[in-house]
């Protein structure tokens, strides 16, 4: 990563943990996970609490839907690391890689339900243009999405608009597809806490 403290500035116990994870998983801990271990009281812990709630807490959206939202937001921000990481989790959760690829290739013609499509369109606009209005929201509500589902989606949007920016500012290393697949299994099983 671009700051040396994020490469080697961890406490002894944390470095030991990184080593153990590498030993058992066969892969180094991804930079997204390393970041939250650096001075966790400043950013890592409160960020993980929010993200875990948004991605694995109670919601009418499935885990696959939420991970797809994360991947789509990341695509809007052109964040390569996060697109790969969360499309891998979404594909695993859905047990369907093709649908994730379809959405990321061209949302308009992707064969997904209208409520999810309308929500992704709204999240894409908010991410690209930084603001959104009541008419945009009414279009989502009219598609059959509840206010609570929109609140849940906006929370995902907040979490990943932070993570995408940090991934690119700190320059997260983009590992192999196999490493992302291993990371996806972990995130599916354990979440973000």
């Amino acid at each position: 990563m671009r700051l040396e403290i994020l490469n080697s500035g961890y406490r002894f116990g944390t470095k030991l943990l990184f080593g153990i994870i590498r030993l058992f998983s066969g892969y180094p801990l991804p930079d997204a996970a390393r970041l939250v271990f650096y001075r966790p009281g400043f950013y890592g812990d409160p960020a993980k609490n929010f993200t875990h709630r948004a991605m694995r807490g109670p919601s009418a959206w499935s885990v696959g839907d939420r991970e797809l939202m994360a991947a789509y937001i990341s695509r809007m921000n052109e964040c390569n690391f996060c697109v790969k990481a969360h499309s891998a989790v979404s594909a695993k959760a859905y047990n369907n890689t093709a649908i994730v690829e379809e959405v990321l290739a061209d949302l308009k013609i992707a064969s997904i339900d209208l409520p999810l499509k309308a929500t992704l369109i709204m999240l894409g606009k908010l991410t690209r243009e930084n603001s959104i209005n009541a008419a945009d929201m009414r279009a989502v509500l009219d598609s059959g999405v509840s206010s609570e589902q929109i609140e849940d989606a906006l929370a995902i949007c907040f979490a990943f608009n932070i993570t995408n920016r940090l991934a690119d500012a700190f320059n997260f290393y983009v590992p192999s597809d196999k490493a992302f697949d291993a990371g996806a299994s972990y995130l599916l099983k354990r979440g973000y806490a």
Binding site: N49, F50, C79, N130, M137, I162, N164, D168, A169
Partner: protein, 112 residues
């Protein structure tokens, strides 16, 4: 640490309060400026604005230029996080406001 209150508003505020008002290597004033992307001193202002609006274009050169302001790595770590959270929070607030506007009862604020 076991989290008891998992309400979004509470978790959101906890994150923002921690990065802006908690202990840090940079001043609260500098963190607030990076969060708001306003009144950031040059040459740091360029990096903060890029984090907010074009993070995918950030290069080693941008970080090197920011270092010329004399900030430490821990200060840069904090200010980059504040810039990222700040822009994401403006997007989030815009979304929540639009949702509140869209779900207001028909007939205006005085309708019964």
């Amino acid at each position: 640490m076991k989290i008891t209150n998992t309400n979004f508003k509470h978790l959101y505020q906890a994150l923002i309060d921690r990065i802006l008002k908690g202990e840090g290597y940079s001043t609260q004033q500098d963190r607030q400026a990076a969060f708001a992307n306003k009144n950031v001193q040059p040459p740091l202002d360029l990096l903060v604005d890029k984090v907010a609006h074009q993070a995918f274009k950030i290069s080693d050169k941008d970080i090197d230029m920011a270092r010329q302001s004399g900030v430490s790595e821990d200060q840069l770590f904090e200010l980059i996080i504040c810039a990222a959270v700040g822009q994401a929070s403006r997007q989030y607030e815009s979304g929540l406001t639009a949702l509140a506007d869209a779900t207001k009862k028909e007939g205006g604020p005085y309708a019964s």
